[in-house]
């Protein structure tokens, strides 16, 4: 695995773990039993620590924080979301274990492999923990449904990741084309504008009173009052 590519992957893991920590901490707010809340908080602490470990080795490889473009999701918005969240976390933590093992083997870096092995072991614990809590919280009748829903969510996330990559590639191609087509005409105008900005900066008088901030032209969002 190329060091830059490895760093980028680890950077993405760091963001996923940080996001996961937040999801666990948030989920704790909706749990009733103190022992469940405490267990959830402990998992959140551990995920935060994983994010830190990933970030540390990723930044050594030159990865930039927050550069993966992953959208943050709200998995738990109310108490009713808890079963799906636990099922999701049970499935995800299990899958991530395999993913980490593969990356560790491909990385060729003992330091990375060591961190991944340590985290992998913890994730295995989270998988069991989520399963245990799921059985304690969710009635047997709805358990299968929660697991099914979580599996679909997982597949949807994977699909979104692929589409994100395709979209990025597509956008790069189109933007490069636009750049090459328009650049020759636009460049002299832009250079001229920058020179003008540099050369003739005249004092200006613009008055903004409190409350007079102007809205931008509306860009086509649904008007909630319509």
């Amino acid at each position: 695995m190329q060091p830059r590519s490895l760093a980028s992957t680890l950077g993405r893991f760091s963001e996923v773990e940080a996001d996961s920590a937040w999801q666990f901490a948030r989920a704790a707010d909706f749990l009733q039993l103190p022992k469940h809340r405490a267990a959830m908080l402990a998992t959140a602490l551990e995920e935060t620590h994983h994010a830190f470990l990933f970030r540390r080795i990723a930044s050594r490889g030159g990865a930039r924080h927050g550069s993966s473009g992953l959208a943050r999701k709200t998995l738990v918005a109310c108490a009713a979301d808890i079963p799906t969240f636990l099922a999701y976390s049970h499935i995800s933590e299990g899958l991530v274990h395999g993913e980490f093992t593969a990356i560790a083997a491909a990385s060729g870096a003992p330091e990375v492999a060591e961190v991944l092995a340590e985290i992998s072991q913890d994730e295995s614990g989270h998988e069991d923990g989520a399963s245990q809590m799921l059985h304690e919280i969710v009635p047997r009748a709805t358990l299968a449904r929660a697991l099914r829903k979580a599996r679909w969510r997982r597949r949807w996330d994977d699909w979104m990741y692929v589409t994100h990559f395709i979209g990025k590639l597509n956008a790069t191609l189109w933007l490069s084309l636009i750049y090459l087509l328009l650049g020759g005409f636009a460049a002299p105008l832009c250079r001229q504008r920058l020179r003008r900005k540099r050369g003739a900066q005249q004092p200006q008088q613009i008055s903004v009173k409190a409350g007079e901030a102007q809205p931008l032209p509306y860009l086509g969002a649904k008007d909630p009052t319509a």
Binding site: A18, W22, A25, A28, A38, A39, L41, A42, T43, A44, L45, E46, T48, H49, A51, R55, R56, S59, H65, G66, R72, D122, G125, D128, G129, K168, A171, L175, S176, I178, Y179, L180, G183, G184, A186, A187, C190, R191, L194, K197, R198, Q201, P203, Q205, I206, S207, V208, A210, G211, E212, A213, Q214, P215, L216, Y218, L219, G220, A221, P224, T225
Partner: protein
């Protein structure tokens, strides 16, 4: 009227809530996501702001974004296209982020909070900065100087603020003529991260002599009349963050420092050996610092000439440069200067919200930096319970601590501060978490790591095993207001109330007191103090006095409660993980003290 201010999509995304013209709460997104300088839309910060006062999104009258994205896009496109055909990668990168996110901020806000599109407003970046400084200042009228990297096009703004007439922008310097970006480029040249490591450039400057000042003047020229001129041939502001300068810049200043290369300087001891290259970097830092101060001073004089007023408010990221602010205080023609606790882009969310108020009350309560979230006692109890969870849920980085932590809750503040002061005086490092977290990047006694400022061993342990901090960067000093006259000769307490409460300026320490606070001083025996009164932070003020009663000086070494590369802790859980992960000896969560057993 409830107004939410938002800053996002560059760095330090934040949200602030203003109700009837009063700032109620403000927080940076990084405090919740744990990603330093998180630029993503501040979803969780907004959630906190609304929850703090029990509002729903539907109760908001306006949501104000701190800059005008369309204007900013014109600047980005103009800059990128002017470099055709070498800028194809930058075009692709910028195009993707604008097309997928930044351009649709209006829709995102409107949809996310189900608010009428007309209620979503956009204000110019530098006017957000102007408002964040002027409205909390309490001044009836003042000149306003805003200096940062770049907003839409504006890099520097001079304005007049008036409670009656609002904010009138008088003059601007536009991109690429930016003193802030020039400072960031020098920061990158010196091997620090731009938009983050400027404090390292400022700290390094103390070890050098400004022998490259003439070279710096060639690239950044202070002009007569207070303006300045940047030579764009030396800068590449649209390059990668670590290459904001051109080959011409390297020809003028030599090879840049590689990030991570050692610098032997220490704020508390003389270096054993300094190579010529290492000294060159310190000299370049001293040179850009000197020219930056000259530019800032020139701009302040110009602001005075344009407005004729005797008060100045200052904002923008460069207002974090405490050394330059101090020179400004000493030499500028204004009688009073105000710098808000978070003058950067995070605080601009506050400015945006204030700017959109129909009416700002004539009298406002004194500004406070304690505007973040306060976590309920219950979350402290749960964090402690977590320590005794007997299952496979082990604690991160703390497996060895299982069963080796003790905790005790104290009934009153006096007992608590006595115990903690005793610990500090015995050389312990204390993680101190109280009340609401601070707005901005400085820890001011609510999310702080504290130590005895005379204890070299504790300070060294703090640098090595907690902060992983370069030894040339000094720690700050928190001192009780009653101690200020003795520690800082000639300090004007009225002035300090505006520029010394939140570590905005630096001061030389009385020679006779140096040994008592040496570990919180820079190499030139100056410090960046937080002069704390009971009105600012009651329990922290008590702690300072409790420590003073033991060691003779009511002052503590104070640094932000975080590890290198992480944001300052916010929740008890964050504090716990940092405590367990580092060499901090004692963690104070509200009235509870947690110790690592021997």
């Amino acid at each position: 009227m409830n107004i939410l201010g938002i800053s996002a999509d560059f760095h330090d995304a934040s949200a602030s809530l203003v109700m009837n013209g009063q700032l109620i709460c403000s927080a940076a997104e990084e405090r919740f996501t744990r990603i330093k300088h998180d630029a993503r839309f501040p979803e969780q910060a907004v959630e906190f702001c609304l929850a703090q006062v029990g509002l729903n999104a539907g109760d908001l009258d306006r949501i104000v974004f701190y800059e005008q994205p369309w204007m900013k896009l014109t600047r980005v496109l103009t800059d990128v296209m002017s470099r055709f055909p070498r800028s194809i990668n930058q075009f692709g990168r910028a195009g993707r982020s604008w097309l997928t996110q930044k351009l649709w901020i209006h829709n995102r806000i409107s949809r996310a909070y189900d608010i009428h599109p007309d209620a979503v407003r956009f204000v110019p970046h530098h006017e957000s900065h102007a408002a964040q400084a002027f409205y909390p200042s309490g001044f009836e009228q003042s000149a306003i100087l805003t200096v940062d990297g770049v907003g839409e096009w504006t890099c520097t703004g001079i304005a007049r603020g008036s409670r009656k007439e609002g904010i009138t922008v008088l003059e601007t310097e536009e991109y690429p003529n930016s003193v802030g970006l020039a400072y960031a480029a020098f920061t990158a040249f010196l091997g620090f991260k731009p938009n983050d490591g400027e404090c390292s450039t400022m700290a390094l400057a103390a070890f050098g002599k400004p022998i490259y000042a003439d070279n710096v003047r060639r690239v950044l020229t202070p002009l007569s009349g207070g303006r300045y001129q940047l030579d764009p041939g030396f800068f590449n502001f649209f390059g990668d963050a670590d290459r904001l300068f051109t080959p011409a810049f390297i020809r003028l200043f030599g090879e840049p420092r590689r990030p991570g290369d050692p610098l032997p300087f220490s704020s508390t001891s003389a270096p054993e050996h300094v190579s010529a290259d290492q000294q060159r970097f310190a000299d370049i830092a001293a040179s850009i610092q000197l020219i930056f101060e000259e530019v800032l001073l020139g701009l302040a004089r110009r602001a005075q000439a344009l407005t004729g007023l005797d008060k100045l408010c200052l904002a923008g990221g460069t207002a974090m440069n405490a050394v330059a602010i101090t020179r400004l205080l000493r030499e500028c023609p204004f009688d009073q200067v105000f710098v808000p606790p978070d003058p950067g882009d995070g605080g601009a969310a506050t400015g945006a919200a204030l700017l959109a108020c129909d009416e700002i009350p004539a009298t406002s309560p004194p500004p406070t930096p304690y505007l973040g979230r306060q976590y309920p006692e219950q979350s402290v109890v749960e964090a402690i319970q977590t320590l005794s969870v007997e299952s496979h849920h082990r604690l991160p980085g703390a497996r060895a601590w299982s069963g080796r932590l003790t905790h005790k809750e104290y009934g009153d503040e006096n007992a608590l501060v006595e115990v903690v002061a005793e610990d500090i005086s015995r050389g312990s490092l204390i993680g101190w978490v109280q009340g609401r977290f601070e707005q901005g990047p400085r820890a001011l006694g609510n999310r702080s790591i504290l130590a005895d400022p005379s204890d070299a061993v504790a300070a060294s342990r703090l640098s090595r095993a907690v902060k992983q901090r370069a030894p040339f960067r000094p720690y700050a000093l928190s001192l009780a207001v009653e101690e200020a006259q003795r520690l800082i000769p000639g300090v004007d307490l009225r002035e300090a109330a505006r520029t010394g409460r939140w570590m905005q300026s630096i001061h030389a320490v009385n020679e006779g007191c140096v040994s008592a606070v040496r570990q919180a001083l820079h190499v030139d025996l100056t410090t960046r103090p937080q002069i704390c009164s009971p009105a600012d932070n009651r329990i922290f003020h008590k702690l300072l006095h409790a420590f003073g009663a033991r060691r003779g000086t009511a002052a503590l070494l104070n640094t932000s409660f975080n590890e290198s590369g992480s944001p300052i802790v916010s929740s008890p859980a964050d504090a716990l993980i940092t405590f367990l992960h580092t060499d901090i000896d004692v963690l104070v969560l509200g009235m509870t003290v947690i110790r690592k057993a021997a």
